[in-house]
Symmetry: C2
Subunit: 553 residues, 2 copies
């Protein structure tokens, strides 16, 4: 690439919430910001995880100078175990807590030895290829979150990462307004900014407001207090621990990821827990209910999480008992509302008092609302603006916001995954599109579940499947056994004998006229299929998948 | 039943939002309030509709004196076509618009001739069996909504229906506070109250607030305005029509249910549309974009609705063009958020300006918020209280609200579908439970899709299916063809030849040791199944449904 251009290629996170991954190229050098994962939506039947399509980088691996990680959330680090091997393990740069979380993940995948993780602090300055790289502290719903500054020879590129401005954060480390102001003064060529909460007017409240709610709930809780939140929301855990201390309660951790994260955060100094406060979940019943706080996972109603199991009376150690107070300190991610509601209903049904967002002030978002987005744009005053981290409507609204603050329309690009954007010092434009999209992880396989398998799963989920199995004589082409009809997920077979018997007769009839074609099995199969699907639709108004099997003997 | 008792049996709508149906018994008489339908959630694979289980009424049909309908929403009338025949068509009582909507529905099912619908007005007083029945006007998101008063010899039962208080409703008919006050003064034994919005503090704003938002959007719309809302939300349609009149625009209706409902509302006098304002959707392009308003269905992102088709560039008549303004005048029902977001994203992607709730004040709820719930409880001052129309948490919160207003705990019952509640003049208690739950409508069948079929569909949707088909000699028990392996929704067969070939070999191996059992086919099938599931899980970490088929020749 010529030396007067910067190329920016989002491989994930633009046009969706999740699997954030941004490629930034200058000359011979490539830097990557974040390698995140996305959780499947309800159309992605049976899929475990969704990772970015990195084919764009396949012939450019040798040019990658580093992967810069903004923070330790799954949508920013979750695809590392899958993508690192594909890219020949470029070095990773991350802050201390982020690095700790990545290590846990890579260890699980037995990739730790092959990976180089460089721990950086927000004050560090790096040289990666021809670019200088710096950082700035931001506030978010996990500690040690940073934005990234890439100083190319033709201008400065700033990626905000996920951020909000909290002047009184729980960890005492507000976003680095000074550095942001300085960057703006020096001149920013391109800013890429978090669009998640552009639909919310005003400011995201400080984490501090939660303290009052927690205090009030703890003060009135006659028995145990059970708090569910994100395992990565260390500041929330700190707030619960602090409140527990005030009310002289012991704290038990429940849920594997909660235990792991809290341990790591304590070790690395990101969480202060008084000596003797932590008790084992196994020992909860040795204490008075009024002395106990349980902090657990499951704030999203995830089926296998601790709180969901507790709500379903299915947890190994914890059962809801009278006078329990449960706090869901999180907001449902869109798509999870029903699962969260189910959990809340079950908890109430078992007699718990339940507090959740909407009813009580027990959560604040980790993302900037409109006024904060304006503040960031006003501090950095970028020449060019690329909204990131959002569904399409959010990117558009963020673009309109920048426009309303004075950025000319032709200086703003609304792009989605796979779009190739190039900028010089004078102009920015979209120049093409590369392969992008969803790569599905299902069980052990990465990428082999594609549209055909998903389409089949969808059909199967709607009306089930019906098989017609037929054995024919190889010589004569005549049926000698069957057709046998077997079905699953279509009708309850015992109740549908009549239907299936006459379906079987239809198949026999349709075959009787076929002697001329008798050894053309694909013709026979098509015939069976069309006969059955017509008949079954007429009788049931359903369209099961129909699978004829012909065996020759 | 003895004459000192009233029995109340909710068959739907308590512990869920949807399929409202309440049975009220006194002596030999049964009255039913509403016969609603529920839309399937994402766990009910392939199901079209969910209706109440009415087995409780099977031996009591002759005692049913009437079905009283509170209003024309699907969750209150939608199961009539299925339930009426089961109950031998008891007479229906409904207000005029509600009656019109029921007629349309029954006509589609060819049940109109068999049904008696009595049109009532809120001032009417009926005698049904030994009970007097009266009504009171309420506000809701559809005109002609009423609450129901049942005067039994031992006391008055009031069912609020779905309600809110709007002092300045679009149709000029506020809820009948006078009647409610009078009822309270006369004494109410049992109140059943709508719990839908108990989680929202304050008051639901008046429909009037929408006028300002619509006005502002219309004033700034450079091209066409497309408004999506519920087809039953006649007052919203009126507001759009009024605004269109002010801005001298023509109105086209798009979407079958929108066209039907608007026509009916005009005919019955519930909607005032200036002469000449309505144009055919086919003629839209004959007008200047600045002269056109399109009112359509699809505010919930429903796959086959008008707005969704427009968003997907799949609508027969309407394509998004530059300068279009789209208004989604509705809030996503929980569970629909993702679909609504998808629609909004697509509309923005095609260049429309989109306004939706949260971003702009374009919708208000049809249900009472906390202060209104308090008002209703304070007007009626019932002795006993049964929260209805809500998920369990909402029922509990509504119960707590009544308690906070002074109703003693033992006068409040939180019940769910199928619970049998009895009350005398002195006490209320839950005395038992009857069959209740979900009856699934799938295609032409009602009730034959049950838990087994749904469980199979779920398994199929996750990891697909794999069949192993084997032909054996009836005499020797030895395999003479196969095993053939066929799979759908598990792996893409072309990419998985190796896996499937070795799976096949495993099956052959496992059969070779089986000679002693050779004609015990269920044993052979189990063996094939366990061999395959073990092997496939080891290789893929997936668990497809495995279906062995053995044919004898
Ligand atoms: Zn984040
Ligand atoms: Zn993120
Ligand atoms: Zn309603
Ligand atoms: Zn309703």
């Amino acid at each position: 690439m010529t030396k007067d251009k910067i190329r920016v290629v989002p491989l994930g996170g633009l046009g969706e919430i999740g699997k954030n991954m941004m490629v930034i190229e200058y000359g011979d050098d490539i830097l990557i910001v974040d390698v995140g994962v996305m959780f499947p939506d309800d159309e992605m039947f049976g899929v475990d995880l969704v990772i970015p399509d990195t084919s764009y980088l396949a012939d450019k691996k040798h040019r990658i100078r580093g992967i810069l990680i903004t923070h330790g959330h799954e949508d920013h680090v979750g695809s590392l175990p899958y993508v690192l091997p594909m890219l020949d393990f470029p070095p990773i740069y991350a802050t201390r807590l982020t690095q700790g979380l990545i290590q846990v993940k890579l260890k699980e995948h037995r990739l730790l030895e092959k990976t180089i993780i460089n721990v950086i602090s927000p004050e560090d300055k790096l040289e990666l290829g021809s670019c200088g790289v710096e950082f700035f502290r931001v506030n978010h719903s996990i500690p040690d979150a940073i934005g990234i500054v890439i100083r190319t020879p033709i201008g400065t590129v700033v990626h905000t990462g996920d951020y909000k401005f909290d002047y009184t954060p729980v960890d005492g480390k507000p976003a680095d307004l000074g550095k942001l102001g300085e960057l703006g003064n020096q001149g920013v060529l391109l800013m890429m900014g978090d669009s998640t909460r552009v639909e919310s007017p005003g400011y995201t409240p400080s984490e501090r407001v939660i303290n009052d709610s927690l205090d009030k709930i703890f003060a009135n809780a006659p028995g145990r207090v059970i708090v569910a939140t994100f395992a990565s929301l260390i500041s929330r855990v700190q707030q619960v621990v602090d409140t527990a201390e005030r009310y002289e309660r012991f704290v038990a951790l429940v849920g594997r990821s909660m235990i792991n994260n809290v341990q790591m955060a304590i070790e690395l100094g990101y969480l202060r827990v008084p000596k003797g406060m932590l008790i084992r979940a196994e020992d909860i019943n040795k204490f008075n209910p009024g002395q106990v706080v349980i902090i657990c996972t499951g704030s999203q109603g995830e089926p296998t999480s601790a709180l969901t199991r507790i709500a379903n009376e299915d947890h190994r150690l914890v059962r809801i008992q009278e006078a329990d107070t449960v706090i869901l300190s999180a907001t449902p991610v869109p798509g999870n509302e029903k699962m969260v509601h189910r959990t809340i209903n079950s908890l109430f049904r078992q007699g718990a008092e339940v507090f959740y967002q909407g009813l009580s002030n027990v959560h604040v978002s980790g993302h900037a609302a409109q006024e904060e987005l304006k503040l960031m744009l006003s501090l950095l005053r970028p020449k060019f603006f690329l909204p990131v981290h959002g569904e399409y409507r959010q990117l558009i609204l963020h673009a309109k916001l920048a426009y309303s603050l004075g950025t000319p329309e032709e200086h703003i690009v609304v792009a989605e995954d796979g779009d190739i954007i190039e900028l010089t010092q004078e102009r920015i434009e979209m120049v093409g599109h590369t392969t992008s999209g969803n790569v599905y992880v299902d069980g052990l396989s990465v990428g082999d579940v594609g549209q055909i398998v998903l389409r089949d799963r969808k059909v199967l989920s709607q009306d089930g499947i019906l098989m017609a199995v037929l054995t024919v004589d190889k010589e004569t082409g005549l049926p000698i056994a069957g057709p046998d009809i077997v079905t699953r997920g279509f009708v309850y077979m015992r109740d549908a004998e009549e239907l299936l018997t006459s379906a079987r007769e239809r198949v026999i009839d349709s075959l009787s006229g076929l002697n001329g074609h008798s050894s053309d099995w694909s013709f026979v199969k098509d015939k069976i299929k069309s006969t059955l699907s017509e008949y079954l639709y007429e009788k049931t108004r359903r369209r099961p998948m129909i699978l004829p099997v012909v065996m020759e003997v």
